[in-house]
Each structure stands twice: as C-alpha cells, then as structure tokens.
Symmetry: C2
Subunit: 223 residues, 2 copies
C-alpha cells in the first residue's frame, strides 16, 4: 500500500521547523497519556506516520529523552517510561518543592483578568469531571496549572515543572482510566480564593495540598 497522507495532526504549526512540529506532537501525546507507559517508540515508525525524514524525528526524540518524557531501554530502544514507587515519590517531592513557589509568585502578580481566565478554565475542568470526560479533565487540569505558572513569570521554574508533568502524564492517564473522574483531588477553589485575596502563603499551601493529593492518587493507582 502507498503511504497515506502525512497525518492531519501536523497540519497546524506551519512555518515551524519539522523537528519542532514533531516535538510538539509527541510531547502532547505523552503529556495526555496517548502513549501508555512501556510502549515502544521507533524512529522509522514515526517517519512513516508523520511523513518527515529521520533527522527531525531523531532530534525531537533526543529532546524528549533529555526531558525524561521518554527513556532508553537497556538496549538502544526508546519507550515511554514506567514509573515505580520510588520515581513517583521523587516526582512528588520535586512538585511539592517547586509548584507552591510558583503559586506564591502568581498570587503577588495575578491581575483580575488573570484570575478570571483561571476561573473559566476551572469551570471547564469541573464540567469535564462531572461529565466523566477523562481526556477533558487531563487537558483542562493541565491548562489550569500552565496558566497559573505563566502568571508567576518564572520561566526556569516553569520549565522544570513542565518536565515533571511530562514524566507522570502517561501514568496519570492510566490511573484515570482505572478510576474514572471520581475522587479526583481539586484544591483549585482554595487556590482561586487565595489569589483573590493576594494571599501568597495560602496559595502556596493550597498548591501543596493539590500536588500531594494528586501524587498520592497516582501512587495508589499503581498499587
């Protein structure tokens, strides 16, 4: 059979280099659990699937591996990492150390517009949970935290946190697939109240709770 059209998912992002498009595509796939933990990823498979040469694919993979989103197998195969209890613990520690600091900063900088935007995202998040829409939950939850981190204006910390989300994304998806959208932690209401009040300490505390509960959920879901 001939090669089908080069994957509609790359239609946007025209003008960007091919390796950047491949990177973004794979990144969202990992972040939202479209690839499951342990799944193998081959270079040639991606070149066929995405309709680009191997050099851009290679670079995108190298970048994702450096960020921990993908991992080398014992041999030289590439796959989505499988988290063990120790990994989840370390990711939780790192998140608990960094994300409250971002929330603290956001509380001192958030404008009324910023908070309104966050509240709108949180409303979409609640609707997705009520609907039992796992993909919607993952998307909107990430969006909420990403918008909050952007307000903090700390690009280095934000990049580090993004890397952490990338690492537990596939596992979070698995856990949500098991338990649905019930029992999902959500300290966003406390957080929004703290932002309204410009209360840095309360914002940091709310974020700490949100992170702790979220990681506990993942740990529990992996038995």
């Amino acid at each position: 059979m001939g090669n089908q059209e080069p994957d509609t998912a790359l239609r946007d992002g025209a003008g960007l280099p091919a390796h950047e498009r491949v990177y973004r595509r794979l990144r969202t796939m990992v972040l939202f659990g479209e690839l499951e933990p342990g799944q193998a990823v081959t270079i040639q498979g991606l070149t066929n699937q995405l309709g680009v040469g191997m050099t851009p694919v290679r670079e995108a993979l190298r970048r994702l591996i450096a960020e921990g989103a993908l991992a080398f197998q014992d041999n030289r195969r590439i796959c989505v990492p499988v988290l063990d209890a120790a990994a989840v613990e370390q990711l939780g520690l790192a998140r608990a150390a960094l994300e409250p600091e971002l929330a603290r900063r956001a509380a001192t900088r958030a404008t009324a517009d910023d908070i309104a935007r966050l509240r709108a995202t949180d409303a979409r998040l609640d609707r997705a949970i009520a609907r039992g829409d796992v993909a919607g939950y993952l998307t909107q939850n990430h969006r909420f935290h990403a918008e909050l981190n952007a307000i903090a204006e700390a690009p280095i910390l934000t990049d580090m946190v993004d890397g952490l989300w990338l690492r537990f994304g596939p596992s979070l998806r698995v856990v949500c697939g098991l338990f649905g959208t019930r029992n999902l932690p959500d300290r966003h209401k406390d957080l929004l109240a703290a932002l309204d009040a410009r209360d840095s300490a309360a914002a940091a505390e709310a974020m700490h709770q949100d992170v702790s509960q979220g990681m506990a959920q993942i740990r529990a879901g992996l038995e």
Copy 2:
C-alpha cells in the same frame, strides 16, 4: 588547513555512540566554564573540530538545549546562555528546594566508605582553593556534590540538580575568574559532620547554607 586529528578529548568513551561522546564532551565544557556565557556554538564548527558528522552534533546540541545548558538565539543560532538576575534567583530557589533534600537522604544512607570518599574529595577541594587553582576548585566542588547526590539514591532529583549546575556553570567560572578562589563558600565541613552523626536535618541545613552562599556569590559577581 587540513583537518587535524579528531580531537584527543574524544579518545576515551570508545564503543559509545558518537552523539553520546559529543554530548559528554560539550557537557563538561559547559559545566566547567570552558565556554563563556554568550559564546556562539555552530554545528559546522563542531563537526570540523570533533571530526564527526553533523547528525550526532545536532542531537547532542538538541539535548543540551533541552537541559538549558545551551540556548537558541533570536534567529536560529545557538549560544551559551547569559544569566540575568532573575535567572540566578530562580536557579537559587530550585537548588535550595532540591539539594537539601538530597543531603537529607544521603545522611540516612551514607556508609563509612561513602563519607571517607567525600572527605577525600573535600581535601582535594581545599588544596585547590589554597593553590588558587580555579579549574581544580570547579572540578572538585562538582565532584563533591555529585558523590553526595549519588549516595542519596534519587536519580530523578539528581538529574534535575545536574541540569541546574549545567545552567550556572559558565557564570560560576566567570565569577571565579574575577575573584579567584578567595571568599568561596564551603559548608562542606558542617555537612560531613552531619553525615558522621547521621543527622538528616543538620545535613539539609548545611546544604541549604552552601547553596545560598554559592548563589549569592554568583549574583554578586554579575554586579
């Protein structure tokens, strides 16, 4: 002129893929300040200098950029990042959040052999300082922290911290070049005492001091 022999610094690591060798070489160059902040790095320059094709060089650069060791210029040129005050502040926050935790864990796991090895490294560090040997100071100081982090057995946290060191390496070298090895902070004695006593809290506190003083030094050195 013809191309000279393919760089003696790549002689070791035989058997590893070329992109891995290029990555390690560039990584140590950045980590120990052999490249100064703002310096441009070209792909073709590296292919000539290291005697490899451009694909391995491309992958190594992509990886280093993902780790923050190198950065894109406005156009698509690559250079060593120049840190501003905000960047140093965020790096300091992240280090202060993560490295004390690693010290805490190391205190609960360190064997007598581990501590002896650390003490030997610290002795070499002191000799380098007394000698005014900047390169030796940078090497042994990094080695001390790397050995300590290895004891903590937390690979994810250790990787994150390694990435942070990569970011401020070039600037630390500049500061040391300005001020020599005088006034360099060193809470390593407190740290070793805490390890001897298996005192996690004291180890974390000593590391927090070491990090804070080190980052303050860098911030001061950049005016």
